[in-house]
Amino acid sequence: MVRVIGVGNPDREDDAAGIEAVRRLAAHGHPGVEARVCRPDPDDLLTAMMGAARVIVVDAMAAGTDPGTVVRIDATAAPVPAELFRGSTHGLGVAEAVELARHLGVMPRSLVIYGIEGRNYRFGKPLSRDVSFAVEQVVDRIEHEAAEAA
């Protein structure tokens, strides 16, 4: 079983990428996937990761690549580049939460992060087309990974 955690803001256009990925996974109902949403908050993400051996986190990223670019990071192998997943000034981002988990000894056995480069983050707008397509790709890849792990 793979736990997939979608992180983001549902009201800010491409920042909803992780949440949309989880929504589509939940709709597909793959037996090897447990999908949930959480806020980009150290508490929430640490809690969401606990108790699962295999975790995949999906979040929008701002890496300066083309919108819709997908990056897959094995977070157990090395620190997650913080500049990819910039959090707000009011909370910690995914990268910081993962490092916190590492230092506190609560990392899952396997932790993968999918970052999807966003185009825009405007209030109240739906996902841009590039990002929506990228979410579909990530969903496919996750379901493949879950099937291989089973």
Binding site: P42, D43, L46, L92, E96, E99, L100, H103, G105
Partner: protein
């Protein structure tokens, strides 16, 4: 991100983005020929126009609107807004409502103080860049802090319906009094958080504190029975004892042109200080015996004028909030109706409470239909702006011999002593519209 200048005759420390504070702010310190020239705390988070857009809204909307000023202290805003509207309408809420508000507010103190003490402030004393870096060497303390924060959030969810911008408070009371099981079910976790808070206080007491003394006037609330949280009269170390309606006669705000925040001033006294040190100085006798004993064992003097030691008081207040939450949980009985009727009238009302960062004051005027005609909100961090700048100035003057890196570190720490919530401090900018 910072840019120290190269020459010794003139040194400029410019911190473009302050780390480990709520919101966005920067700091600029100028030293010329060995003497301090200026200190500026720059707030550049976009100005919030809450006081302006509340005009024309229904008085019942004020708690939910003002909660959005801050994601970490929404209960403070909801409490003040509800209180002010209730006072304007001539309504007194029953003790059950007051106690449930106090419990919700304790949840906020617990989560806010836990986050600041462990993740934002402790790293300064132990020489770490961030709470994340500190976690590697102090996993137990960080786990403890995050666990305590979670308990505060659990109280806010159980009583307020949601941990971020709780939805259950309204003018007159609540939308629903939680079921007894939902509140009593918190007991074990809060009892755990109390013990862990006392352990955190013991840990913080081992830190080394710079030797600093500041002569601010302290301003805080005072309650007839308990340590002030959700209500009280406004008292100062200069001897004032004021009803919330008298606030504007003694306190004002200046809009500084280079900043989006308003700076608090006390008429006839200049800068003043609100927050944990002020509450401690003016209300020690209201703490529980256990917390008072733990605070004294941690080395807290009856009056603390060293801003760096605010972390000790925050840890003590965290323990107090846990102990007070236990008392309120044990006494809790669901009540019905969950709110009293509130009929609007053409009047002005005032609400005041102790946000985690200090005194928060609201004032609203409404017409006979309950439409808000005027709103004024004075947050704690705006009131502390001048004290923050004067603290940094005092620190620089005493430590001019330090190299820029070390001097800058001390300046940033001086700002973080206040647990500043820059989001709250930028809630208002004066707005005038000229139609031609």
């Amino acid at each position: 991100m910072s840019r120290p200048s190269a020459t010794r005759a003139r040194r400029t420390l410019a911190v473009d983005v302050l780390a480990r504070v709520e919101g966005e702010g920067g700091l600029e310190v100028k030293v010329r020929r060995g003497a301090l020239e200026s200190v500026r705390l720059n707030i550049y988070e976009p100005p919030r126009l809450f006081e302006a857009f509340l005009r024309g809204r229904d008085f019942r909307e004020a708690p939910d609107f003002t909660a959005r000023i801050c994601g970490i202290c929404p209960v403070a805003y909801q409490t003040c807004a509800a209180q002010a509207m209730e006072r304007a309408c001539g309504v007194t809420v029953p003790p059950a409502v007051r106690d449930l508000r106090r419990l919700l507010y304790c949840g906020e103190w617990i989560e806010s103080h836990a986050l600041h003490v462990v993740m934002l402030h402790a790293p300064d004393f132990l020489g770490y860049e961030s709470g994340i870096h500190m976690a590697k060497d102090h996993p137990e303390a960080v786990t403890r802090g995050l666990g305590i924060k979670k308990v505060g959030n659990a109280i806010m969810t159980a009583v307020g319906g949601r941990e971020i911008h709780p939805v259950n408070m309204r003018v007159g009371g609540f939308w629903r009094a939680p079921a007894a099981a939902a509140v009593k079910g918190l007991r074990d976790r809060v009892a755990w958080a109390l013990e862990e808070s006392l352990e955190l206080l013991r840990w913080v007491a081992t830190f080394t504190f710079p030797d600093v003394r500041r002569d601010w006037v302290f301003v805080a609330l005072r309650d007839p029975e308990r340590y002030p949280v959700e209500q009280g009269r406004i008292v100062t170390s200069a001897g004032h004892d004021l009803d919330p309606s008298e606030f504007e006669r003694h306190f004002g705000e200046e809009h500084v042109h280079r900043s989006n925040a308003l700076h608090g001033v006390m008429h006839g006294h200049g800068p003043y200080h609100v927050g944990p040190l002020a509450r401690w100085a003016l209300n020690q006798d209201r703490l529980t015996p256990a917390v008072l004993e733990a605070a004294r064992a941690a080395g807290l003097a009856p009056v603390e004028r060293n801003p760096f030691r605010s972390i000790l008081v925050r840890a003590a207040e965290m323990a107090y909030a846990c102990e007070e939450a236990l008392r309120l949980i044990d006494a809790y009985q669901p009540f019905d109706p969950p709110a009293v009727e509130v009929t609007p009238r053409d009047a002005t009302g005032w609400g005041v409470s102790e946000a985690p960062r200090g005194l928060l004051w609201h004032s609203y005027s409404m017409d006979g239909r309950g439409v808000i005609r005027k709103a004024r909100i004075v947050p704690p961090t705006a009131q502390n702006q001048k004290s923050i700048e004067s603290d940094v100035a005092a620190y620089v003057e005493r430590h001019l011999s330090l190299e820029n890196d070390a001097l800058q570190w001390g300046c940033e720490q001086a700002v973080r002593n206040y647990d500043p919530c820059i989001s709250c401090a930028t809630h208002f900018m004066r707005l005038s519209i000229e139609r031609v």
